[in-house]
């Protein structure tokens, strides 16, 4: 390459080695770094240049994609740069980076999908992928793509410095600070690991109906794992933060709780008692417990499962499913949250979608195909793991709106039950509606008071049943900053979840008999 352009730099650089390269090229004028042309642009021009394509090339590829009669096609351009740094034994001695670059081409004929992708963005390779995807259709008609019209993205995660402009030198002190804080919090700590993962994703979506849109999606994930030992007994736990923010978000105020919570949730386990399993009252702590919604109702409300009649919610729209004070949303617009999107992966605007409003089941979460099937507006839930996958309806940030009760009222109303606080994973069977979520730590509630810690039990319930058993909802809604990665159909996407303090009158909790 003869000269170093921003495009070639971005395309090839993985390592956040911007410490060496960036000051020369981009930060000569400090203002330039603050206003990257790729952030919330007013036209697609910069992204065309970034992906080395033109409108003319795109229209030719789309014409190939539609030449067997598909009635719609789209192209999903993606460039993702991800860096991971790991600290263990007081040393930052491991780093990993990944560059992903390519385009996915989807052809739709009614609700049938042809899909192909290529990692080479030249006209020949894209043309081959287009002709492969075109095979889903088998007709003589051919619809030319419309003229392209730019759709400006929202701006729910404004950022000053792109993550690939932050060098490893600037990240290492953050890991060190967290590590020192973990070791200083409790002398029983015997091992600590700190992970720092930053991701920059550039996306451009072009549709045959003439819409084009672009977005830069930042993500920072910090993850602290620790092991502690006390009188020969060991316990481990972890805590994480994952948000669409820049390095300016990583203040002591935002970082310290990650170390503090990781340590607190580890050492409390030394006092944990065995729980007697069975059906019991469960109070879900505000925040992470939103995993209940994700599993109990979220997946079952993704429109594809309903269009295919696989979901237990397939015939429940408009019906009363919970108490009047229960409202549940899936929100793609929550500022800086892990599941937030300025545009979804089909170039539709995201929104705050009510799944349940005042106890009534209101709306599924749609991608373009299901929205067309149900003759409704897309809700901005069309998402994909990467350009290697077609989009499907997925959650974003799923949470319950605040209710009329208080946390104190809720806890004091329980004679004997579980206060569920932190979780590792969950799963749902879409058809029967059985769902589970795994409690890594929580407490017993005895006679209206939080008492001894408990750990490592699975909670299992039935989605529609549990919704009817939400008997109290507090006013203290909290969105989990830890977030999670949701898996469906072999695709993982970042999501978040939240909940006010909630009381469920009965769930089957694991434990000894």
């Amino acid at each position: 390459m003869s000269s170093m352009t921003r495009r070639s730099f971005l395309k090839t650089s993985a390592q956040g080695l911007a410490v060496a390269a960036v000051p020369v090229i981009f930060k000569a004028n400090p203002l330039a770094a603050l206003s990257s042309p790729l952030l919330n642009p007013d036209s697609a021009a910069e992204y065309y240049e970034h992906f080395e394509v033109s409108e003319e090339i795109i229209r030719k590829v789309m014409a190939s994609a539609l030449n067997k009669g598909g009635d719609y096609c789209d192209m999903f351009f993606e460039h993702t740069i991800s860096n991971t740094i790991l600290l263990e034994d007081d040393r930052v001695d491991r780093a990993y980076s990944n560059v992903d670059y390519g385009v996915g081409i989807r052809v739709v004929e009614n609700d049938q999908i042809g899909y192909s992708f290529t990692e080479e963005l030249n006209p020949a390779a894209m043309g081959d992928a287009a002709r492969t995807a075109a095979n889903i259709a088998n007709q003589s008609r051919s619809i030319p793509p419309a003229a392209l019209d730019f759709r400006k993205a929202a701006d729910f995660y404004p950022i000053e410095t792109l993550w690939e402009d932050v060098g490893i030198k600037d990240k290492i002190p953050i890991l060190r600070k967290l590590n020192e804080r973990v070791w200083s919090r409790d002398k029983r700590i015997i091992n600590a690991r700190v992970y720092f993962v930053d991701t920059s994703t550039y996306k451009m979506i072009v549709r045959s109906d003439g819409v084009v849109g672009c977005d830069y999606q930042p993500m920072i994930t910090i993850y602290v794992l620790c092991t502690a030992e006390d009188k020969g007994k060991r316990e481990q736990n972890n805590f994480s933060m994952s948000v669409r923010r820049g390095i300016d978000h990583l203040t002591s105020e935002n970082l310290n709780p990650i170390a503090d919570e990781a340590v607190r949730q580890t050492v409390l386990l030394f006092d944990a008692v065995n729980l007697e399993g069975g059906e019991m009252e469960v109070v879900l702590a505000a925040g992470e417990s939103g995993i209940l919604l994700h599993e109990a109702i979220g997946h079952g409300m993704e429109a594809d499962f309903n269009r295919k009649e696989e979901s237990i919610f397939s015939d429940k729209i408009g019906k009363k499913v919970a108490e009047n004070f229960v409202s549940i949303v899936d929100d793609g617009t929550y500022p800086g949250a892990r599941g937030t999107l300025n545009l979804d992966d089909e170039c539709n605007s995201t929104r705050k979608t009510y799944l349940v409003k005042d106890g009534i089941l209101l709306s599924y979460m749609h991608d373009a195909i299901s929205a067309r099937h149900y003759k409704v507006e897309p809700t901005g839930n069309g998402r994909r793991q990467s350009f290697r996958y077609p989009p499907i309806p997925r959650m974003r940030n799923t949470y319950m709106m605040p209710g009329p009760h208080t946390k104190e009222e809720i806890i004091s109303s329980v004679k004997k039950g579980l206060y569920a606080e932190s979780f590792t994973n969950g799963e749902v069977l879409i058809g029967p509606g059985d769902f589970t979520f795994y409690l890594s730590s929580g407490y017993l509630i005895e006679n209206g008071k939080i008492t001894r810690p408990v750990k490592d039990v699975n909670l299992i319930g039935n989605g529609p049943d549990v919704l009817t058993r939400v008997v109290m909802v507090a006013d203290d809604l909290k969105l989990s900053e830890g977030g999670g990665t949701c898996g469906k159909g072999g695709q993982g996407v970042p999501v978040s979840m939240g909940l006010p303090t909630v009381k469920v009158s009965s769930i089957t909790v694991g434990g000894r008999s």
Binding site: N191, G277, G278, T436, V509
Partner: protein, 440 residues
């Protein structure tokens, strides 16, 4: 890109890495082509076909280490990628344990033919692929009007791998894979829509045959779930069907690894040679199984694979230690990437074992749950069938089992004769005594 092009590319990457200042380089180049066809309710639902490339690079420089991947194999891009990877490595702390493996571990058994590549892969036509999925979907949908929806899918893939370690290792392999599955959903009058699936896979296209039985099994299994209910909490016998058992096996796999042992996060620390499970449990890591889904002559480090027992008659015989952790833990390396996991088998089928159950649950599926690698505590949701006096009474759901790894594996009373054929983990069904179930 041919096999020789990939080897050439990998050698070029090693050369460029060393020129940029690395002491040693490890490179993997992978090319993969995959195709899938899905039919639902009489229509092709999805057709996917793509090829992808992938290059992974590990840099060893001045006792420092980093690792990088990219899908952009353009040489201009790669040259810059490599030089930045090496430069970045300089910013990290030294790690005296980082190095490529000792070349004495590179003695690969090249005399063994793993039989993991179907030379007829390119003879398979689009029409054949489509017909398999279409016919299976049609045959399954026709089984009963109780089926609400049915999805049949065909997929195949072909992958080529090249690996070079700059201190004297070069390896390559090609493999193919073919799989067919069908899933049905039926309606329960109580409102639920239980579903189930059946599936086969093989390294060879010729094995993808007599598929109608897949639909019959999927339908039967879905129907078997109608009328599920939970029973009272209690201590019961449990037979876990082979298909479901991977969940419990994961609980004893992670604590075997070097990473978990090193960060003091394993319930198996200092337990080598101790009896962990009942004498019925023998688990062998077998890299040479003909046509196995994880058969391999060398592992992720490039070290020659060996057949070895992980558990023998309940005794913990081997950890899973890759090269790096062997140095950190001062242990002999085994492998960080297991091959096919096989088991000593019993003589009876799960149906025969069920006849011995006075009161218990035949678990056909685990739902969620997890296992604590350090304390061994676990808890999983289950779906299954309630068994009383040797007879299946009714389907069960919405229950949990809980316990500790160090207890439940000692309660393994019998191992079935039915290794699961379509996975690299070839587990038979297993019968456990005295398991804590929570329900009503």
């Amino acid at each position: 890109m041919s096999k020789y092009d990939k080897i050439e590319l990998a050698r070029w990457v090693v050369k460029k890495g060393k020129q940029a200042g690395a002491d040693d380089i490890s490179v993997d180049v992978i090319k993969d082509r995959s195709i899938s066809v899905d039919f639902r309710d009489g229509k092709m639902e999805e057709l996917k076909e793509s090829s992808q490339n992938y290059l992974s690079l590990s840099v060893y420089a001045d006792h420092r280490y980093t690792s990088h991947t990219t899908c952009d194999l353009n040489k201009d891009s790669l040259e810059k990628f490599i030089s930045e990877a090496v430069a970045m490595t300089g910013y990290l702390n030294e790690d005296p344990y980082r190095s490529l493996p000792d070349p004495k571990y590179y003695k690969i058994r090249n005399d063994i033919d793993l039989g993991i590549h179907d030379d007829h892969y390119y003879d398979v036509t689009s029409e054949q692929r489509v017909k398999i999925a279409r016919d299976l979907e049609a045959a399954t949908s026709a089984l009963s009007d109780k089926i609400v929806t049915c999805n049949a899918s065909y997929s195949d893939s072909r992958a080529e791998f090249v690996k070079i370690n700059s201190n004297g290792f070069e390896g390559e392999r090609q493999s193919t894979y073919f799989g067919v599955g069908v899933e049905t959903t039926v309606k329960d009058v109580h409102g639920g829509r239980p579903g189930d699936y059946d599936y086969i896979g093989s390294r060879f296209f010729k094995d993808i045959s007599s598929l109608e039985r897949l639909g019959r099994t999927a339908f039967k299994r879905a129907m078997q779930k109608i009328g599920q209910k939970k029973i009272e909490s209690g201590v019961y016998d449990m037979i876990v069907e082979n298909r479901a058992l991977t969940t419990m096996l994961a609980g004893i796999r992670y604590p075997l690894t070097g990473s978990y042992l090193y960060r003091k996060n394993s319930c198996f620390e200092n337990k080598l040679g101790e009896k962990i499970a009942s004498g019925k449990l023998t688990i062998i890591d077998d890299p040479y199984l003909k046509a196995g889904f994880s058969s391999q002559l060398y592992d992720n480090d490039g070290m020659a694979t060996k057949k070895r027992a992980l558990f023998e008659k309940g005794v913990l015989k081997s950890y899973l230690i890759d090269w790096y952790y062997s140095r950190k833990l001062n242990m002999e390396p085994t492998t960080g990437s297991e091959s096919n996991i096989t088991f000593a088998l019993g003589s009876r089928s799960p149906e025969e074992m069920i006849r011995d159950v006075k009161q218990g649950i035949f678990v056909t599926q685990f739902v969620g749950g997890n296992s604590n690698s350090l304390t061994g505590d676990f808890s999983y949701g289950i779906v299954g069938l309630y068994v009383k006096d040797g007879e299946i009474v009714h389907p069960v759901n919405e229950m949990n089992i809980s316990g500790n790894i160090m207890e439940i594996w000692k309660n393994l009373a019998e191992v079935g004769n039915d290794p699961y054929q379509y996975s690299s983990i070839m587990r038979p069904s297993m019968y456990f005594k005295d398991v804590h179930f929570s329900g009503i």
